[in-house]
Symmetry: C2
Subunit: 191 residues, 2 copies
């Protein structure tokens, strides 16, 4: 049988689940890495072999988003403007998050309660923006427009994601993304 080796399978995933559970139950800063490791049936040292630090365990999924964004921009039709391509990419990212709605909301609640995690989130978002800009440049978009469209796109996504997490209206994330983009196009007219 697979996964019946010397160790229980998916150590990395067990660590990630144990960490989120504990962060939800007791808060990020009242959770020690030793406790996470214990719940996952591993040692502290092993945690740090899988995740660079105690925060990173919440952000490992961001590389998957990077790939989704890059692919979507690359595959957008030739005729798409930079912002059109970004819009397609953001809907792809929205679909990924919607697959694990409850997980995404729990995770965001943890982040919202802790400043260190917000710092890490900002740098990850900046990195996503960089990925978008790079993908746009490879479509031949000039440097300034690529950077601007990417930054604005991420800003729109943050706004839409926040509305989705807040649950004041029960809509799909992708719908909030489309609405926020429409709002941007309206506002941008008189900036």
């Amino acid at each position: 049988m697979p996964g019946m080796g010397r160790w229980q399978p998916d150590a990395r995933g067990r660590l990630a689940r144990a960490a989120l559970e504990l962060y939800v139950e007791r808060g990020f800063d009242r959770t020690s890495v030793a406790e996470i490791a214990e719940r996952a049936g591993l040692t502290e040292r092993t945690f740090f072999r899988h995740y660079a630090d105690k925060r990173e365990v919440l952000f490992a999924g961001s590389s998957a988003l990077q790939e989704v964004l890059a692919r979507a921009v690359a595959e957008a039709p030739e005729s798409a403007t930079p912002l059109d391509a970004v819009a397609v990419a953001l809907e792809g990212a929205a679909a990924v998050l919607e697959e694990r709605q409850e997980h995404a909301r729990q995770r965001q609640a943890v982040i919202d309660a802790n400043a260190e995690l917000q710092e890490r989130e900002l740098i990850k978002l900046a990195s996503l923006s960089g990925t978008l800009a790079e993908a746009l440049r490879e479509r031949g978009v000039d440097e300034a427009s690529a950077g601007l469209a990417a930054e604005v796109g991420i800003a729109v996504f943050k706004f839409a994601f926040r509305r989705w997490v807040d649950r004041t209206e029960e809509k799909e994330l992708s719908r909030f993304v489309r609405e926020s983009l429409a709002g941007l196009r309206a506002v941008a007219a008189d900036v």
Copy 2:
């Protein structure tokens, strides 16, 4: 005589100078708080009474920028558009940094060499953006436009500051700010 009390004067300033010196000489992560305190003639414990953590010592000046931005937006002429008001504020911030040009450049070199410091910088910039947005709202600007103008303004400032720090052209920061804003207005036309 003033400053001849039980302790040498300006402990906080001495700590900040010692920290920047050491971060420049040996890098952020090869400098311990004990070394900073020693150079300042104080103890490690006292460092943490003045600065919340080892990073914060590089960002204490950001509250001064907050005040400059808020005041400039508040005092901008009634007729100014949101982006006009932001432009005035950014030039005020530029003037502050230009007063301590060498300090600003050294500090930025240290930040550019360390990911943890970049995280802290991003959250400080987000906070400045929040300050701008708040000041705009108090002028009666609607929520969405205030947020957008503030975020775009900070993005423009980052871009201008980078060009100033890079020194490929020897211009004043305030000039780079004006040029970058002009660039934005041009690009924004066809986003």
